[in-house]
Point group: C2
Chain length 431, copies 2
Amino acid sequence: MNDRLPEIQLLLTGNEIMSGDTIDSNSAVIAQRLAEAGLGIHRKVTLGDDAQLIADELVDMAKSADVVIVNGGLGPTIDDLTAEILANAAGVALEERQEAVTHLQQWCARRNLQLNQANLKQAMLPAGCAIIDNPIGSAVGFELNIDRCRIICTPGVPGELKAMLGPIVASIAGQTASASRRNVLRLQTFGLGESTAQQIISDAIPDWPTAVELGFRAGSPQMEIKLSINTPSATDAQEKCRQQLNELFGDHIIGEGDTTLAQRVLQLLDGRNATLCTAESCTGGLIASSLTQVPGASSGFHAGFVTYSNSIKHSVLGVSEDTLAQCGAVSEEVVREMARGALREAAADYVIAVSGIAGPSGGTAEKPVGTVWLAWGTAQDLHTRNLCWPVERTLFQTMIAAAGLDMIRRTLLGIDTEPRYFDQRQAKHTG
Amino acid sequence: MNDRLPEIQLLLTGNEIMSGDTIDSNSAVIAQRLAEAGLGIHRKVTLGDDAQLIADELVDMAKSADVVIVNGGLGPTIDDLTAEILANAAGVALEERQEAVTHLQQWCARRNLQLNQANLKQAMLPAGCAIIDNPIGSAVGFELNIDRCRIICTPGVPGELKAMLGPIVASIAGQTASASRRNVLRLQTFGLGESTAQQIISDAIPDWPTAVELGFRAGSPQMEIKLSINTPSATDAQEKCRQQLNELFGDHIIGEGDTTLAQRVLQLLDGRNATLCTAESCTGGLIASSLTQVPGASSGFHAGFVTYSNSIKHSVLGVSEDTLAQCGAVSEEVVREMARGALREAAADYVIAVSGIAGPSGGTAEKPVGTVWLAWGTAQDLHTRNLCWPVERTLFQTMIAAAGLDMIRRTLLGIDTEPRYFDQRQAKHTG
């Protein structure tokens, strides 16, 4: 047991990460799990599958770190080098470990697969290492010291890493008696930019308390605001900051933690025992897909219509051919008829309908790429709005799908004020 | 001009990356752009917003590297520290740069925004630095040497970084006379695992040529196989390897480069002047959304139905209430009626229909979580299949949506052999 926090470094390996072919999400998972135990990552280094470079870095890290978590290089293919490198760096031999062979045999048996030579490579481990069980994948993890530094080797496959982190983090946290109790309050927002939010806060709260660290994470579609404190005594200050943010732009706050717009909408629908349907043109099913990603979505969401062509808007949703011919598919009239058609066909309480020009082609001077009509609400109280959000196609779909969900969220909460993006993303031609 | 390749290191900064709140995709973009110019990244270090730690690392990197690309910390908020740190490390002052102020003024004017103090912080730059234009965002980039090492500072917002990388990469590539012409052939596959592919290749091609580097990238849903060569003289060997892979498991190869299943399906539909419709239950719109992410999707895809509840399967797609009651929603009969209903309502040539149990709840002993019925084909030639793919909910949706698209791809190509995953993911209860 030690009173100070261990210095933890992370070493990620893999040509696919270095070359950018794979986006690394593993280090985020490791960081989050460590944070839950009050631990932080001091430094992270990423290297390609170069045995010499990895060995040098590992030895270097071991000089100052208490723990190095190595991620990647445990796989069955020829570019997986971690076991060999660690054995060399620690000055031990590689040997076939029976526990690892047994694990591989059972893994293959469960999958009705033949154990092959490529797999067996994963049982060749540094002599004297401790084996870490992998409940999902074929590659076991392992741990060995270099001098006084613990080197913990984990697989690069995200699902396997996740399944193994619990015991690993617990064993690191067990080293220290008093992990700091960092408390992070995360607020999910939609429709605010980072600099806008920062400016509003700076202007309104010049005496922001130093004990509360303010952070932003601009994502698509949501932006996260973080209020972090390092001592329990700052809890009141943190709560006061939260209240002030609520007063400043509370209608843009979706919820806490990892809450998504789709989750919040489904939760609000559940509270009213109500259902929502969708009629999507330019977002092409993304609103429906966001909703159905949420476990239990079936209580509030029963039906979505992706009506990508004019004839389908007519035949499936009953949009009049005259309206389509006179107003065009991207028009208030059409999106309104789409919404009414979807409400009727789905027998739902609420609706989101969207029709717009996602690009890159299809824009005109009158209706440039990024133009979109949104309709939302109920049969009795249907609202429409014309926006222009001229960004790359998939980002456009992401933001418009989110805007549709956000308007239903606001409707269900009875929020009357318009979101900031209505003003910022106003279409020039409102015809 | 220099004959050897410059040693490029990457320094990523930001608490949000270190804590795992943000997944870093920027370094992948930088690596890919550098690779196109024949350049590689030697080493990458990631640190939180700790001025001392960043300064130490920067000075350390500058000792061995020719170029350090710093990413992050240029924003308007208080946790953005890069300009200050670089000024300190290089021993110069921070000063307000008129070019950067003008850039901010124009940026705000285009957006109808008021220039605020938070933004103006982005014009305080190290004295003597060269300014790098940011055509999208408010923060300009900048470059300054520490001794002989170029330190190039870039913004963390992905879209802005992308828009700035062209000139940056060109200026780095311009340093070297003979960037190696690495040629990478990337093949996209679906339905093959990494170790399976490695084993098939090792068994079938024991004399794999050393000039062709074989790499794998396991993604969801696709796996990429890479054949890399470093000299033009290896082009024939590379081409021969590709042919051998085609013979070994060519029906699992979707296409080259970044080809997605949705792109390939739309391309094949275009070639036949045919249309596809979807009837989705457990995938909840993900197949439609994957298709409509592709620019120009409207030529081959007109209509998608998300029929998440039984009553909607009946009212929208005409699935008989008797069939639903007798067979259950996850059954061959229902998925077949969904497919026929969608073909009729959409007047389309081809259809994908899916009904399954995405979990985490809803499974039974007879039909556990992960059970799914797929239907695909035409009205005259409709196929069905029962699979069991028991993975986490969103991964299940991703894989099943891909499997549906893959079966249409195979149908459109006239491939008769069954994919490997039919065998591996066979449902136990085929009732």
